[in-house]
Symmetry: none
Subunit: 140 residues, 2 copies
DNA sequence: TTGCGTGCAAAGGTTTTGCATGGCA
DNA sequence: TGCCATGCAAAACCTTTGCACGCAA
């Protein structure tokens, strides 16, 4: 027995948006880039619709949202689920934008520590460590 | 010999703002909270002035700025030189929105581990762990 | 007196919301 | 035929900037 979950229709905008995001590979896009892509050509998708779908997709773990500089828009990236994808954290370099995957037993222990000692269940799909990668640390 | 550094006057607004921030202890405040505090009572300090001082104070290392989410206002915290005001992570509950502060030696070790073994310098001012807090884990 | 500090108002940007219309099931 | 989805316009945010006036030194 389901709760009163809304119907969730399949619309062409939704399909196009998801197909576009999936086609990006590892590339990140901003809302403006997405809107720009759908502005040209026949298949228009408005910004309002884009924002509304992106929020749902982020919550569903289908795409990941990254915050950037203050004042600048967020950027989004498709999360590929196919590969043998153990739970892991992500490191995002604020300078060069590189996204690193952190498979590490130490982090697994940290995650369990936060769960047992701080009683907080981390969502690794949404959590992103921001900072400087090896190469960018040497510069400036 | 100094470079052409501007004069930097001491104004009452500046003194009041710094005194207020210092009085907060470990608490974080947003610009709105600061402005609200100075709105009531005689000693008004405008938001523009608050923003301008906060930027300087952050650059001077006197206060710390946390960027929690895009669009939402940043949080500021006084850095007490003498006492232990360690860097810390934040836990954000996806369900109820609660923001928890994670002061924990285990996390300090994790941070060092990521630095030495994975060669990534984490920015705790921007990094937020997303997940479920104790209370919201029990529900649904 | 000099010129930085202040703060109102307006602009800049991203994101959200109101509401009438469109389209899926 | 219901009712969700869409998207324009407008609002709601946070933050920055222009500019005239105030005030410290």
């Amino acid at each position: 027995m389901e709760h009163s979950r809304p119907a969730a229709y399949n619309t062409r905008q939704k399909e196009r948006l998801l197909a576009y995001l999936a086609s990006l590979g590892d590339r990140h896009v901003t809302v403006n880039e997405i809107a720009g892509y759908f502005r040209q050509g026949e298949a228009a998708v408005g910004k309002t619709t884009i924002y509304r779908h992106l929020e749902k997709l982020v919550n569903a773990g289908i795409i990941r949202k990254y915050i950037q500089e203050e004042g600048a828009g967020a950027c989004y990236q498709y999360v590929r689920q196919n590969r043998r994808c153990r739970e892991h954290f992500h490191l995002k370099c604020e300078k060069c934008g590189a996204l690193l995957h952190l498979h590490c037993p130490t982090l697994d222990r940290t995650q369990r520590h936060i769960l047992t000692k701080h009683r907080f269940k981390i969502n690794t799909l949404k959590t992103v460590f921001y900072g400087r990668c090896e190469h960018c640390r040497d510069q400036d």
